[in-house]
Symmetry: C2
Subunit: 407 residues, 2 copies
């Protein structure tokens, strides 16, 4: 959001490329028959090296899908050669059998890559799944798909775009971006879902790649800082998936070692852009909404207050209706786990003051919110800290999409 | 809910009466012109005594409406002669002027009652308001209405039904109930809104009366225990009003002094019945849903887990669609602030097991949820405590009602 300055003199962002933009990465997506529709449903991201450092952040949900439990173990090594991702099924709440399916998938990827000439162990393969919770995956199709996808990639068929498409569920467009640094190193990423680490609308999966030289500790710092400011501040409906996973892999193929600050900034900008794409494609979205809390005692207070407002159904339905119902914002923030002086709270919509020191401002009911981008700024009058949480309105489309069929 | 046994041998509940069912109470409702529609918008409940003990619970929102701030002061005395309630405006976020309006209203009620022959101070008059947040009330109309309503009541025009109608906002039906104890004492109540003390969909106002002999300490215990088990466990959309107020007044006119247990039970049953009426009339409701968490380590854990599920938009939209998507229940409970073992959680819908020990049960996808009452039971497998939270589905009607106009 506003914290990030797009400085074209040091780097540029392009959305026509994703995980294969950095040197040293291959990726593709195929249809393995997991989705009944026959659409792309299996993706592979492969790090050719020379380095294989990696970092990850996972869902904070206590109910974790089998692929999350698996990938958490894998990431304890700080090394990754490949990521296999499927849509068409979350493999969550599937018991010990579901975990065995994930393990078998990682073993199959390792075996196929080894056969192709890259000696790989299952412990170097992360697994991500997304789709309906509670059903076992069609393992035979997944395993056959693994053989096919490695074969196709080995044969030269590689494309980050196909990978980005293969992880889509209710997404209407693939999400990818690449940041090219002027010093000749690159960060690329793809994402699906419309949520965040916690909470999320649907599973959020994200794979970020870089050809920078960076060890797993540097990657871990960059990813955690970026996720905290981006995915953790995207809140569509307060729900949190069992499968959320964000991975960052470094090949070192550029032979450039950026400073930690440069790496942090690049990863932040890639995450921020993917976040904006997720927000724009959230289920049922008709308005992209930024809730900025300023004048907070601490940044944590600002995030907590912004999140409570972003999750409030009455605020979100009012915004869907383009109704400048600022009283609902006051009622929502009053429930935030933050100490407040109601008589010092001021609110503006799209920069227009609607509430000053806890009471209505002239013309507040006439603010035009008919556009598709809305900024709600809440000044707590308690300090200098601030934070922005991205959210969406609560629309008929959201209800329709989430009630008409299982997802 | 299930904790309450309706025992017709000691008491019976009737919904055709409300706050005037107990001896010693008068009430009525009029149109004071606060609502542009000309509908009833001002209600008065008057305790003729001989006793005037009272207790109250208020919203936990830090942003409190002027009438809440006023009534909190009044209730520190444990005594109430009258309650004046208006719909058509919440008088919240209205600054010092809004508080002066509330104070002036209480003074006017006290003056009119004194003129009628009942010496009354403003400090004996609670004020409740409900409607749109942020606008000042039309004070001249309110004050004229106060004179009229006291005059009409003094002239013999009294009716709990009119009072219950005058506090309606988006309610489609008035809510009232009376419990007649076999020992010849009675508890009556009226309510509006579709929410709870915290949180609530819209302001929840409730006035309960009894002709039992009970001091304010006894009333306070009975009301707090009842509210904790009823209104506090009704969660329509996780939002919390600035105006929520529940009042309990005792006249002593029956000259019967029930035991504390008898009083507790009677008040609980009245609150429970009003709660069920609020749930049934919640904005956009198409399903009445009970989320029961059993097998919890503590009752607090059970309530916390049930509340998280009850607030989850993905669970609520699935129930709107009659979709037995139990995976969303697991994903929701996994975010509860309660220690969980995901492999010990079991779920049933309407008594049919859909998830056993964290994995799907046979036939889970085929459970029929097409009826308008749904029970979701979640067994945490962690202890013996349990609790039930009432909620509703998240429907197109909810979105429509809360986006199409300010309320």
């Amino acid at each position: 959001m506003t914290e990030i300055v797009n400085n074209p003199t040091t780097a540029r962002l392009v959305r026509t490329q994703g995980v294969t933009a950095p040197a040293g990465f291959r990726a593709t997506g195929i249809s393995a028959g997991i989705k009944a529709s026959g659409k792309l449903d299996l993706a592979l991201v492969f790090n050719e090296g020379p380095d294989h450092g990696a970092a990850a952040v996972f869902t904070r949900n206590q109910v974790k899908a089998a692929p999350v439990l698996w990938s958490q173990q894998v990431l304890t090594t700080g090394q990754l050669r490949a990521v296999i991702l499927n849509s068409g099924g979350a493999n969550a709440c599937t018991g010990p059998g579901g975990f065995q399916d994930t393990h078998a998938t990682a073993e199959a990827v390792a075996a196929a890559l080894s056969q192709w000439g890259t000696e790989t162990g299952a412990i170097e393969v992360a697994v991500c799944s997304t789709g309906l919770i509670g059903d076992r995956l069609p393992l035979a199709k997944v395993l056959a798909g693994v053989t096919d996808i490695v074969h196709e990639m080995a044969g030269g068929l590689t494309g980050g775009d196909e990978a980005a498409r293969a992880i889509m569920t209710t997404d209407t467009v693939p999400k990818q971006v690449a940041l090219h640094h002027q010093d000749n190193w690159t960060v690329g990423g793809m994402a699906k879902g419309a949520g965040m680490l916690a909470p999320s609308l649907a599973t959020m999966l994200c794979v970020i790649t870089t050809d920078a030289v960076a060890d797993s500790a540097a990657l871990d710092q960059a990813l955690r800082k970026a996720a905290a400011r981006t995915f953790d501040r995207l809140d569509v409906d307060g729900s949190c998936s069992t499968n959320d996973t964000v991975l960052l892999l470094a090949s070192g193929a550029s032979e450039i070692t950026p400073s930690q600050d440069e790496l942090d900034d690049a990863v932040l900008r890639v995450c921020d852009d993917l976040c904006a794409q997720l927000q724009s494609d959230a289920e049922g979205v008709t308005k992209r909404v930024a809730i900025s809390v300023v004048g907070a005692a601490t940044e944590d207070d600002a995030v907590a207050a912004a999140r409570v407002i972003a999750r409030d159904s009455l605020v979100k339905t009012a915004l869907f209706g383009s109704d400048p119902n600022w009283g609902r914002v006051l009622a929502a923030v009053g429930m935030a786990p933050v100490r407040l002086d109601p008589n010092r709270i001021s609110v503006s919509f799209n920069g227009f003051p609607v509430c000053i020191d806890g009471a209505g401002a002239p013309g507040a009911r006439d603010v035009d919110l008919s556009g598709d981008v809305i900024t709600v700024t809440v000044d707590l009058g308690a300090g200098d800290a601030q934070a922005t949480v991205r959210t969406t309105d609560l629309s008929h489309g959201y209800v329709e999409e989430n009630s008409a069929y299982s997802s």
